[in-house]
Amino acid sequence: MSLEPIVRYSRNVEGKITIATVLLCVLAISAFFLLDVQYKSGIHASNVATTSVFVVNSPPEWVIEPAEVPASSASNPTNEGDVVTWTATAEDPNGFNGYWLLICKNTTATETDMIIYDPDVPGSQPDCPGGEANRWARSALTDDGEMATATYQTLEGRDENVENVWYAFICDNDEYHPRCNVEDISQGYGDSGSPFYVNHRPVFTEFNAPDPTDPGELAQWTSVASNTNTVLSDQTVKLFVCRTDQFDEENVECQGGDENTYASSTYAINPTVNYTTNHPKPHGFYDAYGFIVDAYNLTAPLPTNPNYHGQEERMQGTNAQLEINNVAPTVEVGTFEFFDQGNEGDLPDSIITPTVEEAETHGFRVTFETSDANSCVNIDWDEGIGTTTNHMEMTDVAVNIYRSGVGVNNCQEDGHHNPNNCYPFEVATSTYGTEEGWQITCTVDNSGCAGNTDTNVKWECSFPLWFLADPTDGNNATTSVYWDEEWVASVVVTDSGLLSSDLTEGENGVDVGSFLAFRLGQDSIAFGDLEVGEADPLLDKPTAIFATGNTGIDQELEGTPMCPMFDPLDSPDYGCADYDVDTGTPEDTIPARFQQFAKGLSTSYGSGVQLADVRAGGDPAFLDLNVLKTTSITNIQNEDIGWGIRIHDDITRAGIYTGQNTFIVVASDASNWE
């Protein structure tokens, strides 16, 4: 915008006159105001009248109506002992006063019933109609427009009602005329409004232990318990079964958490707890403490709670022990292993063989495992102590060793004992070393038992067998009578509670090998005095053959020539004259073929078997002697071989002729053993 036109206007006369007029007006007006020029009328008052009015105090008014914080309702009550809190905001229309929030048990429409604030009484505060007895709560003096808070500590015990009506007042502290808003009391709205609800502790009158339970089976605790506050929306309760007598009320769980909790129920009236017991688990009694909590996380009263006096209230934290049954142990049939004498290693043998004639051979071993659902340790075991013999659950075994064809039921009693085929545990050990005696010693190897989570232990048993134990080796009936059987073990295991397993036969057996052994009744054959050309009429020079192993036996026989200069080490002539084995008759040597032998002592010379000559290099002469297998320790089977000799006619030298015969034992056909 340009000022040039104004400047041009002000340069002319008209402009100047206008400007001057304006300036004069401004000055006049300014003077009027500055100097306060007053127009005075012609009428003047000669007196002043003072007026006054007393504005009455009004009671405060709600800005935010009272509410329970948090809301205390039938579905979310306040647990006894907890605090009910109300908040509200009010303002005083007079603008200068503070106020109290009063929560009363009853109401009134008249202020006169209220206990009003008295400004002349130090510490005066308003109160409900009837005073403190009818008051739930009262806030502190709160500034106008600020939020007031009033609290009430609910009572423990059942004396207090579950459902409690309240009325809220606000009263100011006016110094002249304090007021309360009796005409505008409030009970709040909805769940946060009146009434408030107090939840009392649930009733817990029975806590029942489960029936004795096997490991791995279901145990059930039952209870009689409920929340009897029927006004509330939920009367159900939850049962916790804890391993200790401590309950964490803050976290609503057994003290120590899951580790100390058997189980808990769902919410129900008269809840039950189902718990699958551990497997394995040592038998015995285990503490189990019951705790009831209602749906509002309030526990049943402890027996020591002074606010609950009824006897029926005493079940919280009581002990209804869990009893784990003692279960009979079992034998692990697939774990049997047999070891031959001298085998100290880990690999079992498939055949064990007696090696001591006419006596027991010691040092055979059988190992096996047994199992117990109560674990390999008893209830006294503790992880800190470790596993010792005193803590073993399976304490004893009875082991029978027998040939499989005998059958498990026929080798378990003393009367079944037969050294040929059955060695029962019950054979009296006092007769050890005799035919009636047998001793098996067993020890438990607890190194494999780590504790109450293991079920198995290993046993090692050492036992002897008599020399005549039936052999089961070979692959046909010629080799041994029982070639298609084996020797097995059966076991009864007993635990610390004196329960025993069934008599159980192991799946794995072992062969007993053939023990080919014999003994001669004589260590030489004395033919006596004979003249040249003379022969023994009968083959009656005896050599008794005793079967001292576990087979029947036959004999092979061969011999050296006899001569005065006999030398057993001087092979091949043995110090005797060289001659044709089949036809030679040297004058100072009696060839072997002039000896004969036969079974028994009544065969005539000439009807026996010619002795084979070792110098011939062929097979020895065979005698089908058929000594039976010895079946009695005190009666060794034997047969006689009768011998005779003829002094051939070409002998010229008189004197003592000696020689050497070899008795070679042969296992006879098994069909001839009995």
Binding site: G216, H279, E332, V333, G334, T335, E337, D346, L347, P348, D349, S350, T353, T355, V356, E357, E358, E369, S371, A373, T453, D454, T455, N456, E507, N508, L516, A517, F518, R519, L520, Q522, D523, S524, I525, A526, F527, T543, T548, E556, G559, F566, P568, L569, Q595, D619, P620, W643, I656, Y657, T658, G659, Q660, N661, T662, F663, I664, V665, V666, A667
Partner: protein, 303 residues
């Protein structure tokens, strides 16, 4: 084992092998003369039989005789025939032209093992070690063809897992007894279990039964390293191998793309193949055209 009831003097045992046709296959250890010292009741000998590769098939029967002799040659009183003892062992060998693949299991055990572990998304199972004492009753090295275990809870009532061996089980030579192991994966947590096992020889079930065993928390069983990559499931293996393969393919593709020489080589390769398959096509075309022309010429001439 040479045994004697009264070892009251030194003896010498001579061992004679007489198995016609197979004498040379049989050796005696420590030798054909064995000293039996005074006081020793038992002296072991070992009879070894080594059948030659080209041995004739058939049965070989004979004997092994043991004869003893006093070491000092001392004989009994004069005028009597002294007696020395011996024993005869029958030998019966069969050399056959048939493979016999047979074995017996004399004992079984499932050893304690550590639970499996999880590394990121990969679940490595625990490695069950199934111990067997195997006796080879055949004439060729043999091992179980399959071992399966159904794992139940400790009460034996609830089936939890089925598993089969994953390793190559060591073969045992004929006539030997050895301890062998089958390894089976398991994803079960620590605890006590029962396993129902079956051991197979081919399709034939050799042995079955059930055993109790424990799975221990990780790291409890010393020396048990568990399964590695091969123990993972097929899917988990794929999640490892797949990205590696794809990455390699991508790398090679990029190399090829940016390498002119590679492209030229590729093109040459395509064209070289092209010539191979185009030749018969071209020839066929030419023949067809020739025939058509010939046909049309004939038609024209007729017309």
């Amino acid at each position: 084992m040479l045994v004697r009831g009264n070892p009251d003097s030194d003896l010498t045992a001579s061992i004679e092998v007489n198995v016609p046709g197979a004498d040379e296959w049989i050796t005696i250890e420590p030798g054909e003369e064995v000293f039996l010292p005074k006081g020793e009741r038992q002296v072991p000998i070992v009879v070894k039989i080594l059948v030659p590769n080209k041995a004739d098939f058939g049965d070989y029967k004979g004997t092994i005789r043991v004869r003893t002799q006093p070491a000092d040659g001392e004989a009994t009183g004069g005028g009597a025939v002294s007696i020395v003892l011996g024993a005869r062992i029958n030998v019966n060998l069969s050399v056959i032209d048939r493979v016999i693949r047979e074995f017996e299991i004399s004992s079984v055990k499932i050893l304690d093992f550590n639970e499996g572990r999880k590394v990121w998304w990969l679940e490595y199972p625990g490695k069950m070690k199934f111990r067997m004492v195997l006796r080879n009753t055949g004439n060729v090295p043999v091992a179980p063809s399959k071992v399966t275990v159904d794992i139940y809870d400790s009460t034996g009532k609830k089936l939890l897992e089925r598993t089969e061996h994953t390793n190559r089980i060591k073969k045992v030579d004929p006539f030997k007894t050895e301890e062998v192991f089958a390894e089976l994966p398991s994803h079960l947590p620590p605890g006590n279990y029962r396993g129902e096992f079956v051991i197979y020889n081919g399709e034939k079930e050799v042995r079955s039964g059930n055993l109790s065993f424990n799975i221990r928390p990780a790291g409890t069983v010393a020396g048990d390293t568990g399964y590695g990559f091969m123990g993972l499931s097929l899917w988990h293996k794929t999640t490892i191998v797949g990205p590696i393969v794809l990455t390699l393919l991508l790398i090679f593709s990029l190399i090829f793309y940016f390498s002119k020489r590679s492209r030229l080589l590729f093109i040459k390769l395509i064209y070289s193949w092209k010539s191979v398959y185009r030749f018969p096509i071209n020839r066929t075309k030419k023949c067809f055209v020739f025939v058509l022309r010939g046909f049309s010429r004939r038609k024209l001439s007729k017309d």
